[in-house]
Symmetry: none
Subunit: 184 residues, 4 copies
DNA sequence: CATGAATGAGGTTTCATTCAT
DNA sequence: GATGAATGAAACCTCATTCAT
């Protein structure tokens, strides 16, 4: 990784942590650079503005998520439905757990900031919903639309619990949903 | 209603709308007073600070919700489980739909602001979860804890859809959950 | 005393206390009316502004002081120098002790506020100095100018101690000065 | 001096002048920065608040004064009482004359602001009094306590004259006190 | 590339004063 | 006379952004 990329990475990592802890509005650019061990002004060599910085964080997590989901769908299409399910419903969730800073930013900050971010959030959510429904259909489950809603809602609920209480629910969440028949 | 109470009410109504639209941090006190048709300083005759104002909004909606839930539980305890269910799972949802400004503030703003608000949110959420589980048990449903999680998660998901897309899901949401067996 | 005069008196008494405690700038008009048990707006039926209120307090204490000093000087002129001294150096000091709120306002607030008040303070101080010197001359004391300075300075020092520590020095202060020869 | 120190110094110098002229409460932060030739916000890069700024000014002058007094006392202890007296009773006074802005702030503003400042003032005054008395004792003068009070009171009186009238009393003030026997 | 001092627009908050009742 | 709700000018303070080094 070039020096330049390393510095950028430092800012992203620091930014995630600071925004997770204080929220986007309360996170100062100087908090981020301080945590990154860089000078205040350096931030603006890598990002146009604090808003654009947030957007780039959100796009990162959105793309990671989508990539996982699409890989899962491909696997199911190719007949490998077990591995596909793992990617779709476990790896995505694990990703959210690992990147809980980004998850919180995506699921909460985005909806609380300016119209631009809400739009971003709304569009992302619709894509996730569609992909989830598509996967459920591929898996041959009935009432796929309803179940997609429940899946997303419950997933977000568990992520929130993780954020609020630091309680790991991780891979067991699918079991939870199976028990009440969402997966049958 | 006294003059004083009317003014307070005006500020609350204006505040709910402005915070709903712009988010707590982007909502200026002057936006609120302007929408209320009052002078800037008037706000501070009724509320200590913008933060305390938010807290008072949150407490209002929390209390309304809890009151509905407790009435529902009482009805079920008295044997009137049909009316109890209505209060618990429909009226609460209708309240959120009617007061979508407050709902958004409670479910999103609270978790994006200072530590004080997060604490408030976390505590509220735990109470809602407990009450929901309690009601499911009273209704004789198995796996009450799991179902309480799913109910809350899905409810929030539908509220978010309402906020983002203005699509009314209203009272049909229970049907949705019934179909996948959450209510059996 | 008429109703009107009583109300005015209440405001003056409350104002003295509040300004003594918090200082002129930190004393709010509403603090004064609250302590007086009156409505906020009532203040402006009796005084043009907060500044004019302060000025009227200062004029009161200035006149009381001057009146005592002049009576003392008259007595000395009439040959009654013992009683004159009492008025001049004890009663004035007792007045400051009794009216410590006003004393503090006169000796400290006046010099810390606007130019108008500084001017008032400076002029008052010069009058006190002149009167003190005049009395010392009438009493046949040498170095009257020097002693007048020392008297005023020490008096103010003792008043400050009273304000800061609530230690009563009262009438003994003259003894203190006698011991070092200021009165001989 | 680094750029940073220079800017800080500019703010301190400007602040002293503005507070001297208008008093702490009437001195706006923007007055200070304007006089310093800096932008408004710069003030807050160097000082937490207007109150903390005042406190730092007060501490500066208190320490300068104490340092002079302690050096004077040391000299007397070492037998060099003439030079010690000069430090104790002339240099301190000269310092107040040179730093009349700070002197005014210490002797008048401190007692007119919030409780925190009054406490600071009271404690400082007690230290000055103790040090003065200690020096008088070292010099073998009788009635050291009384004389310490008179010295402080008169000194303050002369400082006030300097502030109000711009009349330099300077080094002659000791002569004045000698004449009435304070120094014998 | 990196620094960190400086900027200033924009927000929150205060409170002397006014005025309808 | 008295009330107290409403006003809005003016202060403090913050912090995203710029820029000289």
């Amino acid at each position: 990784m070039s020096q330049s990329q390393k510095t950028r990475e430092k800012l992203v990592e620091a930014g995630k942590k600071v925004i997770y802890e204080k929220g986007f509005h309360c996170a100062r650019v100087s908090d981020i650079t301080e945590k990154a061990g860089l000078a205040h002004g350096t931030f603006y060599l890598y990002f146009e503005s604090k808003e654009k910085f947030l957007l780039s964080l959100l796009e990162t997590v959105k793309e990671e998520l989508l990539s996982l989901m699409e890989n899962g769908i491909s696997l199911i299409r190719e007949g490998n439905s077990e591995q596909g399910k793992v990617l779709l419903f476990l790896r995505t969730f694990d990703l959210m757990i690992k990147e809980r800073e980004l998850a919180k930013i995506l699921f909460f900050e985005a909806i609380c900031t300016s119209a631009e971010f809400q739009k971003f959030y709304k569009e992302s959510k619709e894509i996730f919903l569609r992909k989830t429904q598509e996967s459920l259909e591929l898996l041959g489950l009935s009432k796929s639309e309803i179940k997609a809603h429940i899946l997303l809602g419950t997933a977000r609920h568990f992520i929130e619990m993780l954020i609020l209480s630091n309680k790991e629910v991780s891979s067991k969440w699918i079991e939870v949903l199976k028990e009440v028949g969402v997966f049958s």
